[in-house]
């Protein structure tokens, strides 16, 4: 679907701006600059306001990033369950630091706070799908699903 068509779906929805940004990001994995400008035009708002909304929410990215977004929970229950080792293993396996994307554009690695799956800590999500009781040895298999 063309960018403008994605945005137009939400134009008449009261408060639909955030839903529109979700839809754009689903397509591009981030919010490109021209998408922000186009959204501002369609919603008849200043670009600064749309940019301000995009930057407020941690799930939105205004910089290009890998297609599959890996988020690791660093809230206290995951922290004491060994999130630190999982982070180190992910960084090692992917050859990038938290906040970066792989060269081939396949993965992005980010922190998140609690994703509400605390029955099986530590938790990571890939494109929103949670993985439970993760440890340095299980991440290889998880990553393989997306390669």
């Amino acid at each position: 679907m063309k960018l403008v068509d994605i945005i137009m779906q939400y134009k008449d929805q009261p408060g639909g701006l955030i839903e529109a940004l979700h839809a754009i990001q689903k397509e591009y994995s981030y919010l490109p600059e021209d998408a922000i400008l186009e959204t501002a035009r369609v919603f008849n708002k200043p670009a600064s306001e749309v940019y301000g909304v995009a930057r407020f929410y941690s799930m939105f990215s205004t910089t290009p990033r890998g297609k599959n977004v890996i988020r690791i929970c660093e809230s206290a229950p995951c922290h004491i369950a060994g999130a630190v080792e999982v982070i180190a293993a992910l960084e090692r396996e992917l050859g990038i630091k938290i906040g970066e994307s792989t060269q081939d554009g396949v993965f992005a690695l980010e922190f998140t706070e609690c994703v509400g799956q605390c029955q099986a800590t530590p938790v990571i999500t890939v494109n929103g799908k949670p993985y439970f009781d993760v440890n340095p040895t299980t991440i290889t298999d998880i990553l393989a699903e997306y390669k």
């Binding site: 799930m59 206290a76 609690c114 799956q117 800590t121």
Partner: protein, 407 residues
């Protein structure tokens, strides 16, 4: 010893959440019918009498809140379900929505009838895309059966901001804005979504409504602690044998939660601390374990019931490290609208990081105590007000952990 009491989770594992017929077969939507046979004023009186208090953390009497929106005059009113559930260690609202979505819709529809609202929104956190799908399917099925006449419900998705759980920030987000809390008053029951009277209630609060209507206020008021009746879904994390959830009457004690339902501390270790209410709660020592989890009894020991999350730490844990991690959370989640919280959460994190790295002095802890006090009364919303609590409570009850790390 106490047993589980499943009121909210009454249909858990018994119905297919994606089949409205299953819900109907369990007596679902009978409460809505019964509610509609009452006058809105009588219905609100019944909810008030049940003494159901909000399960989102603030503990406000639900029926009383509804009465404000009922009395407000407006051409449009709104019912909003707060499904933002961002408090670390909490997943009770997800459990309810995943396993019994129609119960939430029924509770919202009863509220809509009571206050005179024809439109409802469920604001579901962006981290729960699978729940959004379940809710949309549930709404579609209810509409197909014509079960919610005159009441239209829509699901909106958050995008990763803890502060959007605060009701006025949530309303801002629903309007498509940055999720920054508003100055209060006016309160949402008078001026909420798009300036119209709005009831914001938590998922668990709404799920209680059909049961109250069906079984009566007197019955509900007799369950659990008198001042905060009913049950509470508790989600247990950290150093316990059963990191799971259960629904218990509100007079259940913390000790029962940890040792009976939680099965105690693993590997023969000793208990050290428990944090109730999620990451913004206080850490509590062993001496307070016989306190019931009810709202007021928790307040009496300087803690909060909050979301009902219970996070247990054993003797091997370093509370300075845990509190430092939590201080990062608040720095990250502060929306930046007011200075005490925007600057304060950053300073707290800096000082805690310094102490955690073994470079702190008594001067730092004194500063933390002062800053924490100022933040607790001068921050605009509950986020900045509660942010110092995990640190201040660990300084108070577990000062040895700090002493061990001082320069």
């Amino acid at each position: 010893m106490a047993d589980e009491m499943r009121i909210l989770l009454r249909n858990y594992g018994k119905i297919d959440p994606l089949k409205i017929d299953d819900y109907l077969a369990q007596g679902g939507y009978k409460a809505l019918e019964k509610a509609k046979a009452m006058s809105p004023a009588d219905l609100i009186e019944e909810v008030k009498k049940a003494n159901l208090r909000g399960r989102g953390g603030a503990g406000f009497n639900c029926g009383l809140k509804w009465s404000f929106a009922y009395q407000a005059q407006a051409d449009q009113k709104y019912v909003v379900c707060n499904a933002d559930e961002g408090e670390p260690g909490t997943y009770k609202d997800r459990l309810i929505m995943e396993n019994d979505p129609q119960a939430v819709l029924e509770g919202m529809a009863i509220c809509g009838y009571a206050i005179g609202a024809s439109k409802g929104y469920i604001y579901c956190r962006g981290e729960y895309p699978q729940v959004v799908e379940i809710l949309n399917e549930a709404i579609e099925q209810a509409n197909a059966k014509g079960i919610l006449p005159g009441f239209d419900v829509e699901v909106r998705m958050g995008a990763g901001a803890y502060v959007c759980g605060e009701e006025t920030a949530l309303i801002e987000s629903l309007e498509g804005n940055r999720g920054e809390p508003r100055f209060k008053p006016p309160y949402p029951p008078n001026e909420g979504l798009w300036g119209k009277p709005t009831i914001v209630n938590n998922v668990e609060t709404f799920a209680n409504i059909p049961v109250i209507v069906e079984r009566g206020a007197d019955w509900f008021a007799s369950v659990g602690a008198a001042a905060y009746p009913g049950t509470k879904i508790v989600t247990l994390t950290g150093d316990v044998n059963n990191t799971t959830f259960f629904e218990v009457p509100t007079d259940t004690t913390l000790r029962e939660v940890i040792y009976h339902f939680g099965g105690g501390i693993p590997a023969g270790k000793k208990f050290k601390a428990v944090q109730v209410g999620g990451t913004s709660g206080a850490f509590i020592p062993e001496a307070n374990l016989d306190t019931p989890i009810a709202f007021d009894s928790m307040s009496q020991i300087g803690a909060v019931l909050g979301s009902g999350a219970v996070f247990v730490l054993d003797e091997s844990r370093d509370l300075v490290d845990v509190a430092t991690q939590i201080s990062k959370f608040f720095e990250h989640e502060s929306c930046g609208k007011c200075a005490p919280c925007r600057e304060g959460t950053m300073r707290l994190k800096d000082m805690m990081t310094k102490i955690n790295q073994g470079q702190g002095t008594a001067k730092d802890t004194a500063l933390i105590e002062k800053l924490g006090r100022v933040m607790s009364y001068s921050s605009l919303c509950g986020l900045g007000q509660a942010a110092p609590s995990p640190i201040l409570s660990t300084l108070k009850h577990f000062s040895a952990d700090y002493d061990a790390k001082m320069m």
